[in-house]
């Protein structure tokens, strides 16, 4: 199966325009032979939203939500948007397929340091639930800072996921030498997570500028043996496709039976002990 990563740059608050961009890219990816597409974090709204959060939020029945669902008749896709639920606003990612919103992940780890102030504007998600798709297998969605906490990937690992989809809006930062250190950080994470949890990792980062912040791009995919199988450009719009193969998952797990040898009960008991010490 061919999965595309759409490294694009949405405009802050221009939801209609960003939606049109989604539809264009879906068609383009389809023409290139892709069977599913992954867009970055908050690709529908732009990242630096601040007080715009409630104004760009969508929920079931919202015309934009309906248009997103319609778009998934072109190709199934993952994208990031602001989800409204019970008057709460989440930094969310959805998987859309054949006119339906199949699965939602609400960002659990909201960064609130340095240039980030997501906790001020978003409610926190509280679960990592894998879902099953006939073509993709078992999938876990992570949003940006979720992924920098290896425990999130571990929770999906225990749910036997085949594909980790990471939607990101990571600004390029640190004085660049070979490249931006922030971009290398994500690659290092993917190298380790894919190899040690024997999963495919697809990391979709955005590009463009919000308020002087340049988003780094450098989207990539890693195979379950830890090989880089797709690497998009730094800092510029790009679209790339990787081959997602069931047989590679099996081969990786024959080579390295990480899941078989995992001892979640020990981990669970130790975490419980640590928490109970408070």
């Amino acid at each position: 199966m061919n999965i595309a990563i759409a490294q694009m740059g949405p405009a802050v608050g221009k939801v209609e325009q960003n939606l049109d961009k989604h539809l264009e890219i879906l068609q383009k990816a389809k023409d290139k032979g892709a069977e599913a597409v992954i867009f970055p974090e908050l690709a529908l709204t732009g990242y630096e939203l601040y007080d715009l959060v409630p104004d760009v939020a969508i929920k079931e029945g919202h015309p934009i939500m309906e248009k997103l669902k319609e778009g998934s008749r072109i190709l199934p896709f993952f994208t990031g948007f602001v989800l409204e639920e019970d008057d709460l606003f989440f930094n969310a990612a959805g998987f859309f397929r054949e006119g339906k919103l199949v699965h939602i992940h609400r960002k659990v780890f909201l960064p609130n340091y340095s240039m980030f102030e997501e906790k001020r504007f978003f409610a926190e998600g509280d679960r990592f639930r894998a879902f099953y798709d006939g073509k993709l297998g078992r999938v876990g969605i992570l949003i940006c800072y979720d992924y920098l906490h290896p425990s999130s990937s571990y929770v999906y690992f225990l749910q036997k996921v085949d594909l980790l989809v990471v939607l990101s809006a990571s600004p390029a930062r640190g004085y660049p030498q070979d490249g931006f250190p922030s971009i290398a950080m994500w690659e290092n994470m993917s190298k380790v997570v894919s190899r040690h949890f024997t999963v495919y990792v697809a990391y979709a980062n955005r590009v463009g500028f919000d308020g002087g912040m340049a988003f780094g791009g450098g989207s990539h995919a890693y195979s379950p043996t830890g090989e880089e199988i797709l690497r998009l450009r730094d800092l510029e719009e790009d679209l790339g496709i990787f081959a997602y193969q069931r047989k590679e998952l099996r081969r990786a797990r024959v080579l390295f039976p990480a899941l078989r040898d995992e001892r979640p009960r020990v981990i669970y008991r130790e975490i419980r002990r640590i928490l109970n010490e408070d």
Partner: protein, 269 residues
């Protein structure tokens, strides 16, 4: 604090291009002194929008060093950009005839603000954005005139220390004589940045980098560079913080501009 100048160039060029197109403008306006920072920014602007959309404004005063105008004119010719040469002596001196002073700082601030006023006038005439030329060293030390040379719409070099700007400039092909020039605001005869600041940029940048970027504790940085120097820098950072901020607004309502009325600079563009 080493940088890869090629990556920085591409990013800065892309930034200028993106921000101009978001605002629906083609042109950028740079106040060109003939010094390192403004020359570097004009090179970046020219790469971003082409010489036909880059506008240099050279604004000498009679106390400016004659080589400044010559160097600026050489840059304009090399890049093939449109330029304005406007002598600010008459406007500035008309004011000081009514309000006489020998205070160099007062005179320098007036000159910096006169230049800002001209840049914004030309930006409206040309339909362009004023591109800032303050570097990170100046911004952190507060070595600039508020609403004068610190004023701009976008600034592609404001997160680069002076020594890093020099690396970028060399990569861009800025002429050797400009690279070697002693940094100066050129507001009075014999003025140099390093003379006024009492420290070289080489050293100030290292101290700033450790304090600001690496967030090392002041005491630790003092042990490496000496108490007096580091204290001097820390004092300047805080004393001049106001120059980096919009004016303080007294909060009366529940939603106040700048405090809890928050939108991206790029909102809906």
């Amino acid at each position: 604090m080493r940088i890869n100048p090629e990556i920085v160039e591409n990013l800065a060029v892309n930034f200028i291009r993106t921000e101009l197109s978001r605002i629906g403008m083609k042109k950028g306006i740079v106040g060109l002194s003939g010094g390192l920072d403004s020359t570097t920014v004009l090179y970046l602007l020219t790469r971003a929008v082409g010489p036909e959309n880059a506008v240099a404004v050279i604004m000498p005063h009679r106390v400016s060093s004659p080589s400044s105008v010559e160097d600026a004119m050489d840059v304009v010719k090399t890049l093939g950009v449109k330029h304005y040469l406007i002598d600010i002596t008459p406007m500035v001196e008309a004011y000081f005839e009514k309000m006489p002073t020998d205070n160099k700082v007062l005179r320098g601030n007036k000159m910096a603000r006169e230049r800002m006023s001209i840049l914004y006038d030309i930006s409206a005439r040309e339909g362009g954005l004023v591109i800032g030329t303050s570097n990170k060293s100046e911004i952190l030390l507060g070595y600039g005139t508020i609403f004068g040379d610190l004023a701009s719409a976008i600034n592609p070099i404001g997160d680069l220390y002076k020594t890093q700007v020099r690396v970028l400039a060399r990569h861009l092909g800025v002429p050797e004589k400009i690279l070697r020039k002693k940094p100066s605001a050129d507001l009075w005869v014999g003025q140099t940045d390093e003379g006024e600041l009492g420290i070289t940029y080489q050293e100030a940048d290292k101290i700033l980098y450790e304090l600001v970027d690496l967030r090392k504790p002041v005491e630790e940085v003092e042990r490496s560079y000496g108490k007096e120097k580091v204290r001097g820098i820390v004092d300047k950072i805080y004393k001049n913080h106001f120059k980096r901020l919009p004016p303080q607004i007294l909060k009366i309502s529940t939603r106040t501009v700048g405090r809890d009325f928050l939108y991206s600079r790029d909102v809906l563009t």
